[in-house]
Structures are given as C-alpha cells and as structure tokens.
Amino acid sequence: MAERKVYGAPLSTATMRAVACLYEKDLDFEFVQVDMRAGAHKQEPFISLNPFGQVPAYQEGDATFFESRAISKSIAYKYLDKGTQLLGKSPEESAQVGVWTEVEAHQFDPPASKLLFECLFKPKFIGTPTDEAVVAENEAKLGKVLDVYEARLAKSKYLAGPDFSLADLHHLPVIHVLLKVPRVAALFTSREHVNAWVKDITSRPAWRKLVDTYNF
C-alpha cells in the first residue's frame, strides 16, 4: 500500500494545493481520482474520509486528514527537513507565514473563488451565463486585496519574508486558473510587484511539474 495517498480531482484547486505541497517536499504519493461529476465525493467510500464531502482527503499510513491547508501544513511540518522548507526560516518569518496563510484563506480566497466560479466554472460545467454584477463586485474586492499585496511585495520578496513558503504556495492553484481569464489576469499583471511575484512562483519547477502531470 502506498504510504501517502491523495484523494481528489485534477480540476479541484484545493486538491492541487495539497499536491503542490507534496511536490515541493519531493514526496512520493498515490493520486486516487474521485469522480466528482458522478457525485462520488458526497457518498461512500469518500465521505468516510471527509464527512464534509469535499476534496481533497489525504491518507498517510493509518491517519486520514482533510482540508487542503491543514494537509499542506501537516506535510510541511512533518517533513521539515525534506525538499523545500515551507514554514519560514526564522521565528519572525514563521509567524508571518501564519499571518499570510490566513490572509489567503480569508481575504484572497473568497473573491477569487467567486470569480473562478462565475468566469470559468459556470460557463464550462454548468452552462449558465456569467453574472456580470457578481464579477464586477468581486473584481473590485480582489483588486483591494491585491493593492495590499502590492505594498507588501514591494518590501518583501515573498509574502512571509525573504523565503518562499506555504503563504505563497497556497495561492498557486487559484492564481493559475484565474490567469486564464484575461480581465482577471489583468488584476495581477497590472501591479508591478504582484506580477513579478506571480511569475516567480508559477515558474517554480515543482509547480511546472504539477501543471504538466495533471494537465491543470
């Protein structure tokens, strides 16, 4: 039996968040595809892995975990000395990793996810028209968040400090997908330091390997 298993789907940004961490840490794992279109994530056997019926779930030996950001943290912590160190290289930087992972979850992700849903998911998988009002509202919200990022990244190479960390990694899947929508991509490319940061983190070898492997 594989020591580590990820249960999820390649089209799920949350699944790719967990996978990105495993790639940065240079860890082998088995990817078990969950057929979300058939609703497999809301039924057994998956629901025993995550009672919330959400991907991904992660198994290591006998232990099962869910929530992509908890999975990435536990991997980053357990395998501290393997692959890229993702938790900050000083006590100050580690505390900032904590801050900026929360910022990603609570400030960045809500408007970003809504844009993803309206601009990509709806037309592609549901076939209903994009709600322009929702898009405009969330572009404005995301723009304000990215203004804060711009100021931060003007003073700090990565969000938590001089080193790439989970705080940056957690953004990768959603940014990667949003860059496919020209009007949303412009929010990132029009801000000098955000643009440089996006180019930097999306060209990391581990991320490129994930994109190629999963056709993400």
């Binding site: 908890a70 536990s74 904590g98 801050v99 929360e102 100021a151």
Partner: protein, 212 residues
C-alpha cells in the same frame, strides 16, 4: 513586556485572541479600536493592519494580524505555559489544524452571515435579508450535523483534549446562542450541546465576557 491586543472587547476576532491569551496565561493590554467611528480605516491603524480589520497584536517588535494566525503563534510561543492548545504529537497537531480549517472554511461564513443579519443589520439600518438568513441557517445546520457525529466519537474536535480547534468557535457560537435567538442550533444536538456547555464554562471564556 505586555502583549498589546488592538480591537474592541465585544468583537469576535479580538475575543478569539483574548480567550487564547487567557488560556496561555499571557498578560495583555486591550487597546480599543472604535469600529463605529471607522477608526480601523484610519491611516494610523492601516499601518498596523493593512486590510483595516481587527484584531492586531503587538508582542515586543512583532506585529501580527488574522486572529487564527495569532492563535497558532501564541500556542507555539507560549508552549509549556498555561493550557497546551495544539496537541502533543505531530498527528494530534494535524487534527487540530484540520478542525481549525473546518471552522474557517465551513463554519465561519454561514455563522458570521447569521450573526451579521440577526445582530447587526438593524443597528446599521440595513433591512434583514430573509433569503440569506434561511440559506445560512441551512448551511450551518449541515455543518453542525457533522460536528454532532464527530463529537459523539471524540470529546473535543481535535481529539480528547481541548485545543485551538474548539476555542476558535467560542465567539460566534456565543453570539448565536445569546444574542441571535439561535440556541436551538446547539441545544438540538446532544453532543454539540455538551461540548458547548463544557467549552463555554471555561474560566478563560468567562473572563473574555467581562472585558470592556
């Protein structure tokens, strides 16, 4: 040096941090931020917290924001003092993290929406959105069904020990039960109810409710 906690004593985020500081027996000074007059959007405050939100802490030279980041930092820094809040092994810690994420991503949004609609909308002169209330309550009920199942097998969310995963829920559940008339969300679920009785009667939480 005393930790400075910026934020009003009644707000959820500052309360979340305050209860943690009490559990860890860390002395702190509460510095009020007048949300109703927009103090949190002033340039001075934005220097501390660029998103214009509370809470923020200052611990010596370190300034930190996002309440759950502050929880983790305190738990880590003051390990060995007060209550241990993140588990003793890597596996225990991973479970604490998991349920902290559950609170952030499954519980927080519908709970916050209900609290905003039922506690604050009228105070701010905004009509209540019945659709939103109904939809949030439905979501929250589904989430609490999962909590009921979890707590029937585990004394606390992260395991058999009180941790950050339980503590993080105190502020919003308190509002729902005491200020929103939504006690039934908790009381209708045997294990959630017992868990709530347990965590909300901790001395640290009682001290938070006395903060001005």
């Amino acid at each position: 040096m005393v930790v400075k906690l910026h934020g009003p004593g009644f707000a959820a985020g500052p309360r979340r941090v305050a209860v943690c500081l009490f559990e860890k027996e860390v002395e702190f000074e509460l510095i009020n931020v007048d949300l109703f007059s927009g103090e949190h959007k002033n340039p001075d405050f934005l220097q501390l917290q660029p998103f214009g939100l509370v809470p923020v802490i200052q611990d010596g030279d370190l300034t930190l924001f996002e309440s759950r980041a502050i929880l983790r930092y305190c738990s880590e820094k003051y390990t060995g003092q007060g209550t241990e809040l993140h588990g003793k092994t890597i596996e225990e810690r991973a479970l604490v993290e998991q349920w902290l994420e559950v609170e952030s991503h499954n519980f927080n949004a519908p709970a916050l929406s209900l609290v905003f609609q039922l506690m604050y909308a009228s105070k701010l002169g905004i009509p209540q959105n019945e659709e939103e209330i109904k939809s949030s309550e439905e979501k929250l009920n589904k989430v609490l069904d999962v909590y009921e199942e979890r707590l029937s097998k585990s004394k606390y969310l992260g395991g058999d020990f009180f941790s950050l995963a339980d503590l993080t829920h105190l502020p919003l559940i308190h509002y729902l039960v005491h200020d929103c008339g939504k006690e039934s969300l908790v009381k209708s679920r045997q294990h959630v109810s017992l868990w709530w009785e347990d965590i909300s009667s901790r001395p640290s939480w009682k001290k938070v409710l006395e903060l001005k």
